[in-house]
């Protein structure tokens, strides 16, 4: 029998679906029998999901214009120009 500690150790790979079939069967049996680990797996999966769903904020316009200015300078100087 898998312990909760064993389950936790495999949790990331389980959620990333990178465990092999045998281990997967053991993990799935454990969560059907262990409500705690079920909750941990479910809430960790949701944690990953909410982060993946976040689009970055658009660049603030002042940051954007300074970036473009820096790049224009760089391009104008040419690749063979002075580099850092």
């Amino acid at each position: 029998m898998l312990t909760c500690k064993d389950f936790l150790k495999e949790l990331s790979d389980y959620l990333d679906e990178t465990v092999d079939k045998e281990v997967l069967a053991k993990l799935e049996r454990h969560i059907t029998e262990c409500p705690n680990c079920w909750v941990i797996a479910d809430t960790t999966r949701k944690t990953i999901r909410v982060y993946k769903g976040m689009d970055p904020h658009p660049l603030p316009s002042d940051v954007e214009s300074r970036l473009m200015r820096a790049l224009e300078k760089k391009i104008a100087a040419g690749k063979s120009g002075q580099t850092t």
Binding site: L8, K9, L11, S12, D13, L15, P35, N36, V39, I40, D42, T43, T44, K46, T47, I48, V50, Y51, K52, G53, M54, D55, P56, H57, P58, L59, V63, E64, R66, L67, M68, R69, A70, L71, E72, K74, I75, A76, K79, T83, T84
Partner: protein, 212 residues
């Protein structure tokens, strides 16, 4: 004015990445501008997450694209352009971080014991779509604050794996870590965030430990 000549707003939004890279290599600054525009927001977010400092993040953003432009001929077509610039950005960001933190105890290279303290303290079920209880802005604030509270070694791994969606191998490569180190740090980061978010996302009326 060279400004408008060098980086005009491009009409290439739909052009695929390898074409843009090839065009950029031949000196097409419009194509390069499109590559920048495609990834600037993600690179800035990544830099902010790693450096935790807006000024540093802006430096990292500029340095990343300047270095990318300068070294375009060294970019190997066998990885994605995005992965390549992420690696440049991570290097620049880590340099800033190391320069700021003279204390060695926060070094990213430090071996961390990831064994016994992967303790789960709060076990409470969440709603099906708990994020929908919050506005986009509120949610962004909650998620950012939680990530910022992670120690740098965990934060960097989490940001690359679960926010920027790099593979384990790419993350290991970008951070100069072994694959087992990436995996154990990722697990710790995910569990810590889960714990922090439980405060906001747990099902109303449910107490922690309700299932124990």
């Amino acid at each position: 004015m060279m400004v408008t000549v060098a980086m005009p707003v491009s009409s290439q939004a739909g052009v695929d990445e390898s074409t843009l890279v090839a065009q950029s290599r031949q000196g097409d600054t419009v194509a390069f501008g499109e590559l920048v525009r495609r990834y600037e927001a993600k690179i800035f977010r990544l830099a902010q997450h790693v450096t935790q400092n807006r000024e540093d993040a802006e430096d990292v953003l500029q340095e990343t694209f300047m270095k990318a432009y300068e070294h375009l001929d060294q970019f190997q077509g066998n990885s994605k352009f995005y992965t390549w610039i992420v690696r440049i950005a991570v290097n620049q960001a880590l340099m800033k971080l190391r320069r700021r933190k003279t204390d060695k105890s926060v070094s990213l290279d430090e071996t961390i014991d990831t064994g016994e303290d992967t303790i789960v303290r709060e076990v409470a079920a969440w709603d099906e779509d708990p994020e929908q209880r919050f506005s986009r802005e509120e949610l962004g604030g909650i998620l950012d604050t939680a990530v910022e509270s992670l120690e740098p070694p965990y934060r960097s791994v989490f940001v690359l794996r679960d926010i920027e969606e790099l593979s384990t191998e790419e993350t290991a490569d970008a951070l100069g870590l072994s694959i087992p180190a990436v995996k154990s740090r990722l697990l710790r980061a995910r569990l810590q965030l889960r714990e922090k978010l439980t405060r906001y996302f747990k099902r109303k009326g449910d107490d922690a430990f309700a299932y124990m």
